[in-house]
């Protein structure tokens, strides 16, 4: 009798491309399913507070989109994006010192898609992307899905450390690595919340120039500053060596899924072709709606409203952390959505997450933001979505969890700190969009 073959419930398992290895459902992802319940204070998600956007502004823009521009808005469009929206994007970028031609802009399906296109254009298996450590979780997922190796470079309170970057480049090159991109979020970085100083921006650009490395400058949060605007974008002084990514997800609404890339001429040509190959054209409807909104609403004032909302929430989180967890450390973000909380050395944030969910509070474990198992004793807290009262309650619950975990560990580590579990053999898998 033939040996029974059994089933693995996926007859195509052996057919998948090797690059899909990281596309898995993890226990961490499953735990985030609970975070969607109203009882849970989710400090995990990076969801903008879209309720601060007056619905009638969007509604009137949508109505004009259909009534006055329906034939265009409901049709396929250009793979580069509509000229009207690209004109508006120039106005938005001018706020951060960027001067560009309307021809330099490529509209994408959120800046996430621009990351995908850039990876498709530049990354072969085994290539190296240097990224801040920690860095944006879903960018790491994209780079890995093109089988690139992500090598982190150190950050401090002023962002990416130039000297560490030099060393990282030298180390990778000495080991024979092919560095294709330097991925950076210079302003209010996700997840650390820190901002790269102007002097360092110049140093980083100089290092990239010297080493012939293309800089991928991702700037979703730059306009969401609280007190002082961040230094101007790196793209404002470097046109050839920087591909700049922007988005309307944070200053308008992520549901529209519209972002953009600004790239040197030749790269931009390839981006347009890759965009067409992937989606034919970005959503004409969403682009027209945004053009109508930007053309008629006081969008600068609306960004001020968002800034006020997020500043109040940041303040609520920092004061609650100061009261509830005074012995821990964090960097104070001057904008954006996130606080990066460092836990005592021997705490494992990922192992602690189930206890947090049980206490009805959720956060993102630091390991999600590293490609190499780092970030075990750190967590990212988002202050963008919950109200200040919920934030205070969430931090109170988090303090209970952390203090409980410290007590538990102390009971089992009478003879010295417990060794942390071995790093996961694979990263956290793909986290849901509401968390990334």
């Amino acid at each position: 009798m033939a040996e029974p073959q059994g089933t693995n419930l996926d007859p195509w398992y052996s057919h998948y491309a090797q690059r899909t290895a990281g596309l898995s459902a993890s226990e961490v992802r499953a735990l985030f399913a609970v975070a969607s319940r109203p009882e849970v204070v989710s400090l995990a998600g990076g969801m903008p507070y879209v309720s601060a956007l007056p619905q009638d502004l969007v509604l009137s823009a949508a109505e004009r989109t259909v009534r006055e521009h329906g034939a265009v808005a409901l049709q396929y469009g250009s793979g580069q994006g509509t000229p009207e929206l690209r004109e508006h994007i120039l106005e938005v970028m001018a706020l951060e010192g960027i001067r560009a031609s309307v021809d330099d802009v490529v509209v994408t399906t959120g800046s996430q898609h621009a990351l995908e296109l850039m990876s498709k254009l530049f990354l072969d298996p085994g290539d190296v992307v240097i990224a801040e450590g920690p860095s944006y979780v879903t960018a790491l997922t994209v780079f890995r899905s093109y089988q690139a190796e992500v090598v982190h470079t150190a950050m401090d309170a002023e962002g990416l450390v130039p000297e560490a970057l030099r060393e990282t480049i030298a180390r990778v090159r000495a080991a024979g690595g092919r560095i294709k991109l330097l991925y950076t979020i210079p302003s209010f970085q996700n997840p650390m919340g820190v901002t790269l100083s102007w002097q360092r921006r110049m140093e980083v650009l100089e290092i990239a120039r010297q080493n012939d490395i293309l800089v991928l400058e991702d700037n979703p949060y730059g306009l969401l500053y609280f007190d002082q605007p961040p230094p101007q974008a790196m793209r404002s002084v470097e046109e050839q060596g920087v591909v700049y990514l922007g988005t309307f997800s944070k200053t308008l609404a992520p549901g529209l899924r519209v972002g953009w890339a600004v790239a040197p001429h030749a790269v931009r040509e390839k981006l347009v072709l890759a965009n067409e190959a992937a989606v034919l054209s970005p959503s004409s409807f969403a682009q027209t709606l945004i053009s109508e909104y930007l053309g008629t609403a006081d969008w600068r004032a609306q960004i001020d409203v968002f800034r006020g909302v997020y500043r109040e929430r940041r303040d609520a989180m920092l004061s609650a952390l100061g009261e509830q967890l005074p012995s821990l450390s964090w960097a104070v973000p001057d904008g954006g959505f996130y606080v990066w909380l460092r836990l005592p050395e021997h705490l494992d944030a990922k192992a602690m997450l189930p206890r947090a969910v049980k206490e009805l509070v959720a956060y993102t474990p630091g390991t999600a933001f590293y490609a190499d198992g780092g970030g075990r004793n750190a967590i990212r807290l988002s202050f963008c979505y919950p109200t200040p009262d919920f934030i205070r309650e969430g931090i109170r619950r988090l303090a209970t969890v952390i203090n409980g975990e410290l007590t538990l560990l102390s009971e089992f580590s009478q003879t010295g700190p417990l060794p942390l579990p071995l790093p996961a053999e694979r990263p956290e898998g793909v986290l849901p969009p509401s968390v990334g």
Binding site: G6, T7, S24, A30, A33, R37, R355, V357, S413, T415
Partner: protein, 318 residues
């Protein structure tokens, strides 16, 4: 085609347990299967409106597809009994017994089924007696490898296989993250199987055993819920007499715990062909990668038909 007198069944899925995601997938599968059999199904995530809804609408039956606490610990089932609403699955008392793994092990062992040697320790025990002294005693009495798991909960969450004595403290911490009581159990080497039990009113019947062979060697959360990462053999690749012994042991466990309608008994078959009881689940996973649906299909059953018969059995009070 409508099966039986059922008109309105409420499937409960989601909740706030750690297994919410799994529960939502189980619930949708059950609801779809019932719908295909012409039964009006409503899928609800239990919240503050649930009790009022059930009292006002009085469905024919509730199909709890809630994994983890409240769904499996007897709490929700007790409430349904209190409200007099028929539901599929074990009654609250039996659910409480099965939910608590140490209690279940004791009852099943008393019924004559082997279960691995273990010790159950509340967290307080380490605090009172000193962790090092407790660890020394464990290592003297229970040879490695060990399995450490929370006394309550499912989907392998908080479960660690300990091959090295130095790993035990961290394994305890991980288990206590999910529950204040943990079991430290001797790991039996052998074939991992799951036996589904179905009772549509004519007595419990053991389904063909499903053998579990995770590619990574450990049937972890990831191995359970990513299709392709575990190979299943139904029936299990064990001799007929061993399979019969396993089925009998599973039925003994189901009966000893007083379970009803549906359960899944997880066991290890050792080299001598002895089945060792690990745990029983009153709400086995019913997702597209779960074991009981696999076993039902292998036995030639239509899922929707079985699920609707179980709802009918609930209405009949069987």
């Amino acid at each position: 085609m409508t099966v039986g007198p059922l008109r309105h069944v409420v499937v409960l899925a989601g909740g706030i347990s750690h297994e919410r995601d799994v529960s939502l997938r189980s619930g949708r599968r059950v609801a779809d299967s019932l719908l295909e059999h012409g039964i009006e199904v409503e899928l609800r995530d239990p919240d503050a409106s649930l009790i009022g809804y059930l009292r006002n609408n009085r469905p024919d039956a509730v199909w709890p597809a809630l994994h983890g606490a409240s769904g499996e610990d007897g709490a929700l089932r007790g409430l349904l009994e209190f409200l007099g609403i028929p539901f599929v699955g074990s009654r609250s008392e039996a659910a409480r017994l099965a939910w608590d793994k140490p209690t279940a092990k004791t009852l099943v062992a008393r019924a004559g089924v082997s279960t691995p040697r273990s010790i159950t320790l509340p967290r307080d025990a380490f605090r009172e007696l000193g962790a090092d002294a407790v660890f020394d005693a464990i290592h003297d009495e229970l040879p490695l490898p060990l399995v450490v798991k929370p006394a309550q909960g499912g989907s392998a969450q908080g479960v660690t296989i300990v091959d090295d004595a130095a790993g035990l403290p961290r394994a305890m911490v991980d288990a206590y993250t999910y529950s204040d009581v943990a079991i430290i159990e001797q790991r039996i080497a052998g074939t991992e199987i799951a036996v589904g039990i179905i009772d549509t009113g004519e007595g419990p019947v053991a389904l063909p055993a499903v053998e579990i062979e995770p590619l990574s060697g450990v049937y972890s959360f990831e191995a359970r819920y990513n299709a392709g990462e575990t190979r299943f053999y139904t029936p299990a690749r064990i001799a007929d007499d061993v399979a019969a012994r396993a089925a009998s042991a599973a039925l003994q466990a189901h009966t000893a715990l007083g379970l009803r309608h549906i359960s899944r008994v997880d066991m290890i078959i050792d080299g001598a062909g002895t089945p060792w009881f690990l745990e029983a689940n009153v709400l086995p996973g019913l997702t597209e990668t779960s074991l009981v649906p696999l076993a039902l299909e292998a036995a030639g059953h239509d899922l929707g038909w079985i699920y609707s018969k179980l709802a009918e059995a609930a209405v009949a009070g069987d």
